[in-house]
Each structure stands twice: as C-alpha cells, then as structure tokens.
C-alpha cells in the first residue's frame, strides 16, 4: 500500500497510509475505534475506494479493481453467513461463483470443513448454529478460496470471553497450517500481541508503528502506542532533566544513562519494570488488585498514579507509604510535546 488516503466528507479516515505485508505473514491492524483500521481493511478489499494512493497484491495493482477481481477473501465482523444457505452451500459460495468444477468444489469444501471441525454441521442452516460455529463457517468460507490475501475484520469480537480465547488459538493454529497472507483488524491488544507476526498500530488515520509484537511492546514509537499496548498500559510521568536526574513533581530520579534531550520529556515504564522495596522513589499506595498470578498495585508517585506488578502476597494496604525502584534499562523516553520516542 502506497500513500492510501480516504476521507468521509471532511473527516479524514486514512491519511497517506503506507504498509507492506509480506507473503504468508499474519499482519494485525490494531487501534482504538475510529482510528481507520476497518476503513483500511475495506479499502484493501475494494469495498471502499481510496481518494489517493495505490494498492498492489503480489505485484499486481488492484487499486481500481472490483472486490471480486482482487482474489481476496474476507471474514466479516458480523460473519455475513448467508441465512438461506446450508453450511455446505455457504462454504462453497465463492467456488460456485467462480464456476469451479463440481468435483473440486466438493473436495475443497470438505477440506475446509475438516480444517475447522464443521463436518457434522454441513447440512445445517446458520440459524441452527451457535455464534462460535457461525464464526467458523465464515472462516471456512474464506479459507476455501485459496485467495492471495485473507482479510479479517474483528472476527472474534462477537464471541464471549471463553470462546474467544479458544477461537484465537484455533485461528493462530490455522494460519500456521495454511500460511495464508492475512490482514487482521482488532482493537484488542492481547489478540494483536498473541496472534500477529507483526502489528501495525493505527491512530487517527495513520500507522503509528509497524513492527514485531515484542518490539512494539518494548519500544513503543510514541506515547500513544505505549499507552495502547500492554495490560496495564505503560506508566507515564511527565518532567524534565536537571543535572543527569529526571525531575517531576515530587520525583527526583538520578539516571545512570540520561537521555539526550532538553525541555519537557515523558518517562515511560511498564508495570513489570517497577519494584516495591526499601529504596527508590517515595510513593503512596492507592489500590491493591490481586489478580491470581500477581497483584496490580496502583500507587501515587509525585502527582501521578502509577501501576506496579507485584507478588500477590505483597500485603500492602491503601495509604501505606512505600518506595519504588525503577529498572533503569527499561525506561523509555518520549518528547512531551510530540509524544514521539527519544532513542
């Protein structure tokens, strides 16, 4: 994708987006609602026309082609499984429309059904299926197509939490087996982290960062990315440098390797890189949330609340005064004005 733009009225949905997806890759488009990720996916599908820019699939320019001429397949958020057709007819719909020989249709539908565990349901109508089963029919209908690109628009968002976990693992396994180039839209950062080969984080109609999941997690390109990825999101403390120490309201942290930056900066650090102990920055406990494997402790450092991952048996109570040590190697610095990372 090169310089793809799209506006609705005067509202820009996509602002000159560039994106390269490798062959066989599982690319996740991640962002909050309204960031343009679904518009981008629909533009790749040909369901939206870009105002500017070009889209190529496997070296073939498809920008002006109709959806059916792009050799793509898609799983819709609503599944859009046809209610008047059996599961078998639904899965085979694309093959029928492309006038694939009957015998080959039957064979490929059977393969796709087996891959998604739908063999026993082939003669049912969608109205007789559960949400999870319908979701699998939608995936089977797409996978049977042997398309160059598989597009998925939040395919798990209509499933309940437990089923979503299962379906997430199933989709990842499926991609591992068929190695189809996939572009997957979600607003769920856990889904993005667990499934994506790479993640393109979108905000306000642009791709803010596109990298491996752990790279996006460890080195967020902006404050927005750090705040969006990870649960809990990254902690941010706004302040300035003074004599190789970071100074903020009620905070003075002497740094081993101070960042090369003047003016207002933001310190970003994740909950698991903070440790509650005998020394460090003074803080007051606000809330302790035991989460089973660990506890999430929210404390006030200077003026801002900060979340810390602590052992579940930490035994703290609200209003207790503690000290927080920072793993200095894991601190990320950002420009306070622009939000971009300082490297």
């Amino acid at each position: 994708m090169r310089g793809v733009s799209r506006s609705f009225g005067r509202t820009p949905a996509l602002r000159t987006v560039d994106l390269d997806v490798h062959d066989g890759e599982f690319m996740v488009l991640l962002g909050p609602s309204g960031c343009g990720k679904t518009t981008l996916l629909r533009t790749i599908a040909g369901l939206e026309r870009p105002d500017a820019g070009a889209i190529a699939i496997g070296g073939r320019d498809v920008t002006s082609l109709a959806p059916r001429d792009r050799n793509i397949a898609m799983v819709f958020q609503s599944y859009a499984v046809f209610p008047h057709m059996t599961v078998r007819a639904n899965i085979g719909f694309g093959l029928r429309m492309r006038r694939t020989p009957k015998a080959e249709q039957a064979r490929r539908v059977a393969d796709a059904a087996a891959l998604l565990g739908l063999e026993a349901l082939l003669e049912r109508f969608p109205g007789q299926l559960s949400g999870g089963q319908r979701q699998r029919v939608a995936v089977a209908r797409a996978i049977v197509m042997d398309a160059d690109v598989m597009l998925m628009d939040e395919p798990l968002s209509n499933l309940d939490a437990l089923l979503r976990l299962q379906a997430r693992a199933d989709l990842k396994r499926l991609h591992g087996e068929v190695k189809r180039t996939t572009i997957y839209v979600t607003h769920d950062q856990v889904e993005a982290m667990s499934m994506g080969d790479r993640i393109a984080v979108m905000g306000d109609g642009v791709i803010v960062q596109c990298d491996l999941p752990m790279a996006v997690y460890d080195h967020p390109a902006t404050q927005f990315v750090g705040g969006f990825i990870g649960s809990p999101p990254m902690n941010f403390v706004r302040g300035a440098m003074s004599d190789s120490a970071f100074v903020a309201e009620g905070v003075r942290l002497r740094l081993e390797r101070p960042p090369r930056a003047g003016g207002e900066i933001v310190m970003g650090v994740r909950a698991e890189h903070l440790r509650i102990g005998a020394e460090g920055l003074p803080a007051d406990v606000l809330v302790v949330e035991p989460l089973g494997s660990h506890a999430l402790v929210t404390v006030r450092v200077g003026g801002v609340p900060v979340k810390i991952e602590a052992p579940v048996d930490i035994g703290l109570r609200p209003d207790e005064r503690i000290h927080v040590a920072v793993d200095q190697a894991r601190i990320r610095w950002m420009d306070a004005a622009t939000g971009t990372a300082i490297r």
Binding site: A45, G46, L47, A66, P67, R68, I72, A73, M74, F76, S78, A80, F82, P83, H84, F93, G94, R96, M97, R98, R124, F125, P126, G127, Q128, R141, M145
Partner: protein, 292 residues
C-alpha cells in the same frame, strides 16, 4: 398495599388490551361483521331459511364463468408483471446510481391517484380520439384512428387494463420491496461481491432469497388487490369484460339483489384465501433459514 399492587397488575394487563382495542374494533366492525353479513345474505332466503338459490342464480348467470376467467387472466397477467417490474425498480432505487433517490418519489406518484381516476386517465389515452391515436397520427404511423377498446378486440382491452393497473399499483409493490431491501444488512451484499458474485448472480443467489419475506407480503397484498380490481376495468371496458368484483357491484347496485352480490363476494374471499395459502406454502421461509 394489596389494592395498590392489584391496581398495578391491572394496569399491566390493561395497557396491551387498550392498545389492541382500536385495531380489534376496526377489524370487527369493518371486516368480520360485513363478512358474516355477506355469509348470511348469500345463503338466506326471503323467508329467512337456508337456501342455495342465490348461489344457483350466480352460477347460472351468463357472466359468471367469464367473470371468473377474466379475473384470473388479469391476475396472471398483472401480478407477475408487477412483481418483476417492481423488483427491477426496487433494485434501481436501492443501487447507488446517479439520481437513485428520485426514483422512489417519481415511481410513487400514481399511488396517490384513485383507481377509477387512473382508469379514466388511461381511457383518455386509449379512446378513439385519445392521446395515443393523436400521437400516432401526428407521427404519420397510422392514417385512421384505431379503436382499441372494443368488445371485438378483447385482447387489446385486456392489454390496456394490464398497462393501466401496472402503472397505478406497481409502486405499492415497489414500496414493500424497497423497505425489504433496506432491511438486508449491507454485509451480505459485500460478502457476495467479495466472493466473486457478479451483480446479476448476487441478485439471484443472495438478494432475492433474502428478500423472500417481503416478496411474499407483496404478492399476497397485490393478489388480493388484483382480485378486487374493477374500477379500472369499468373505466376501460365497461361491461365488455366482466370481472368478479364488478359483477358483485353490478348485482348490488344495478340489479339490486344483495344476495347474489354477497355470493360473488364469497367467491372473491375463497379465491383470495386460496391464493394466499398457496403463497404461504410455496414461499414460506422456515424458521431455520431466517436471518437472525
């Protein structure tokens, strides 16, 4: 306390009844009561006893067989033509081609005209000195005016009625189908596009099946209306083309025999009822195939 709770429960029960009331009253007074009256009229002799005399008079009438045949012929010609026409128009309205938002308004204009007025309007087109002859003469296509609406040329008369009725009432079917199309989620259209369906195949394989409930309603309503057509028929053909509804009117108003008129009305009821059953049976969607 007890009375308070009881009054609440009474209100809970009363509200739905109160809301249903007007509709039930309307149906009772204007549908059920006349139906019962017609039934009584059709089978009641002068002395108040049960008789098949009126039915016999009806079936023995010269116009009876013709009326039934003509009614069915008009039905078979008008209803499918209107459904196809309305479907094409509905798809045009629903498509996003330039000016699509105007189609519906233009198409719907004839709906505002009464059927008798529509009949007279088309009479002024087809009559001997009507617009059609004037235009054809002016263009030099014909020398002498053609008599379209003559009992010697019954096919032409039927053609004129079919045109007039289609012009007048297709929009009714159209409105139902456009509403039905708008109920179909856009995802189904897009999924069909994406998985390789051409516009035509998308319409045949996806849109029409999903439109089936609306098509069924449109067919039933349109068929019942087609059975009762007679104003346009009267305007264009007079009594050259007897139809069932027209005969009922005739027996009631001209011959002043409400018993035979009621018998005709029962024939209409039976025909309309039978056709509705057929539609429900043939086009009925089973629970499992319905979209959620």
């Amino acid at each position: 306390m007890t009375t308070g709770r009881m009054s609440v429960r009474w209100r809970d029960d009363a509200l739905p009844l109160a809301l249903l009331g007007p509709a039930v009253l309307y149906l009772l007074l204007l549908i059920v009561l006349p139906m019962v009256q017609a039934l009584v009229l059709a089978f009641q002799g002068d002395d108040g006893t049960f008789t098949l005399e009126h039915l016999r008079r009806m079936t023995g009438d010269v116009a009876f067989r013709d009326a039934i045949r003509n009614t069915l012929v008009l039905l078979i010609l008008i209803v499918p033509a209107q459904i196809v026409l309305a479907l094409v128009m509905a798809l045009l309205v629903h498509s996003r081609i330039r000016g699509h938002e105007w189609f519906l308004y233009v198409y719907a204009i004839p709906l505002a005209i009464s059927d008798l007025a529509a009949g007279i309007l088309w009479l002024s087109v087809f009559t001997q000195n009507g617009y059609l002859n004037t235009v054809l003469q002016a263009l030099g296509i014909i020398k002498e005016p053609i008599v379209y609406l003559s009992y010697e040329n019954i096919a032409m008369v039927i053609g004129a009625i079919v045109i007039a009725e289609s012009w007048r009432a297709t929009a009714l079917v159209l409105v139902i189908l456009v509403a039905g199309l708008q109920l179909i989620p856009r995802d189904y259209f897009e999924a069909a596009d994406l998985f390789g369906a051409s516009r035509l195949r998308r319409t045949v394989h996806v849109v029409i099946p999903l439109l089936r409930p609306s098509l069924q309603s449109a067919l039933i309503i349109r068929t019942i209306f087609a059975f009762t057509t007679f104003a346009a028929v009267f305007a264009l053909a007079g009594r050259n083309l007897p139809v069932v509804a027209g005969e009922a009117y005739n027996w009631s108003v001209v011959a002043r025999d409400p018993h035979v008129a009621a018998a005709y009305a029962l024939v209409l009821l039976a025909l309309a009822g039978a056709m509705t059953m057929v539609y429900l049976r043939v086009l009925g969607t089973s629970e499992t195939q319905r979209a959620r």
